[in-house]
Point group: C2
Chain length 335, copies 2
């Protein structure tokens, strides 16, 4: 069916986003680099293999506990490069500002971008600013794009995931989404919930020193459930998730229960899913846990060959439930 009008859910990262990509972007832009729809595209240039990625950020409010739109804009793009095994080489930054945006806030946001970029060991080398009239944007929107080098011999892709592979997540889920929602709606939830926004390229370099990692995904919009659906679709395997193993902090778990959110669908900005051979799992866990951003890394499930691949949650009481991609929009403007 043709797309009539854009709705908020088209920006969710879930099924409606996928529909929009298939009905509009893949149709118009079709090419082999775009087709895998992973976190970054692979491009060969002058004999080297690059990862190339972009994201726009429209999160509101622009500052919230643990991060701000600038930090998220840098970390999101660094992580999209890193999960393809690329070493981030350079970032761009495009700003769309609403007339009247405060100068001191802009300076605070750009300084936060610089700190995140420094932590990732990458520079913001090119940029652009447009200004629109009052009422034609919402304060500030930031786009970042990133280029990274994929070292020779590295090939991380969801289609390489094999039956029996284990699924690891690098830490507690849902903190970013809960922190933004708490700040946006002044919910006053206690427990010091902070966004997890962090550049993960350092942790990932450590992880990749061990063999056996087949693919990684950045667990952002749509949450772990959506990422697993994408990987399941790409490799044709079932992803079986053990509910008891999924790491969520007590504070975020309580907040999600209160707000009617499922942590498996809430966005993160500093967590990855790793797919690796079972024999490689102990070393992978060790490498992740050795890094400050991976201390709570844990095995959450496995990939299985089944006639009808699906994403399945084995619940705490031994039941099973199918996890679809995020439908519609759970939390708009979370990144």
């Amino acid at each position: 069916m043709a797309l009539a009008k854009v709705v908020l859910g088209h920006g969710s990262g879930g099924r409606l986003s996928r529909d929009l990509v298939e009905q509009v972007f893949l149709k118009s832009f079709s090419n082999p680099s775009l087709k895998p729809l992973e976190d970054s595209a692979e491009v060969k240039v002058g004999g080297v293999t690059l990862a190339f990625t972009t994201d726009s950020y429209v999160v509101t409010p622009v500052e919230f506990p643990g991060a701000d739109i600038g930090r998220v804009a840098v970390c999101g793009t660094v992580n999209d490069l890193a999960v393809k095994g690329a070493r981030p080489a350079a970032l761009s930054a495009g700003f769309i500002l609403e007339e009247g945006f405060p100068g001191d806030l802009l300076l605070r946001i750009t300084r936060s971008m610089r700190r995140a970029a420094d932590e990732a060991g990458v520079s913001i080398v090119t940029g652009d600013t447009k200004v629109v009239e009052r009422g034609k944007a919402d304060g500030i929107f930031i786009n970042t794009a990133g280029v990274g080098l994929i070292p020779k011999g590295r090939c991380l892709t969801s289609s390489a995931v094999k039956p029996g592979d284990v699924i690891i997540v690098s830490g507690n889920l849902a903190d970013h989404g809960v922190a933004v929602m708490n700040a946006r709606d002044r919910l006053g939830l206690q427990g010091g919930i902070k966004s997890d926004a962090a550049p993960l390229n350092g942790m990932i370099e450590g992880l990749l020193r061990a063999p056996g990692v087949r693919a990684m995904r950045d667990i952002t919009r749509g949450g772990l459930a959506t990422v697993l659906n994408e990987v399941s679709g790409a490799c044709g395997l079932t992803a079986e998730l053990e509910e008891n193993s999924v790491p969520v902090s007590p504070a975020s778990r309580n907040a999600c229960a209160l707000l009617g959110l499922d942590p498996l669908y809430v966005a993160n900005e500093g967590k990855i899913a790793v797919f690796c051979a079972p024999s490689a799992a102990p070393r992978a866990l060790q490498a992740l846990r050795a890094h400050r951003y991976g201390r709570n890394a844990v095995v959450v499930g496995r990939m299985l060959k089944e006639k009808k691949p699906q994403v399945r949650l084995v619940t705490a009481i031994g039941g099973a439930r199918v996890l679809l991609m995020l439908e519609g929009e759970q939390l708009p403007r979370i990144c």
Copy 2:
């Protein structure tokens, strides 16, 4: 002085844009690749030299005679790569959509992007879409970033321009700005004025087969006068422009006169300024004129060593007038 609030002029591409870059972006992001502030940054990755650039597009209306926001978004980024001597390798596209944006218009815009990309011989390999609530954006904003390969031995930079170098423009100025303004304000100006938006990498490859080209600039926001001020600042030379030589079509000249616009400050999306040794000028002109987008290429002035470098217009009646950078905002949201 610290920046209090963002005003429309900060997006003009002129002096206020430069102030914003110096007060905020250079201060926060400072690094050697960013510092030259040219149309793209040079980045060395894995032994190759890349050009990397980004631009966001907020032009209104989104469709106008000769082009649309999608075509401009592709051509602008292709041209920013090409004027650094780079061969475009891949583009990204980030969309910010307002809830309710029509699906058929989005498809038309993305197809137009594809046609422009095909003409440039480049693919859109990665993308992103965010959707914001009704009233929080203005229909559609597009960011494109681009990566290109700079062949070994090529080094085009404004600081390489030398005394005596001639200034060539590749064709008629001001058509893009006039076409957008005519469509936006339904002015009903006659003469079939169309945006000149075009990918210039093919024309530029032809031009660079001849030696002696020292630098090129994409003449977009702020117009030729602003570009010459930037180049004059980078190489420390005076740019002397002959008013009689500046090519403007009669229709656009009349429209500018009527609207109180100076064509030297109006944006183009398919014109470049070329700086080359005087001995190289005949071959450069020949190469440009051999291409459909360079048929009206002409020498418009020269670079001179003077105690106090400036941009000077020698008028039709033999007088002289200093051209400053664009002050404030002549035509907001032109790209």
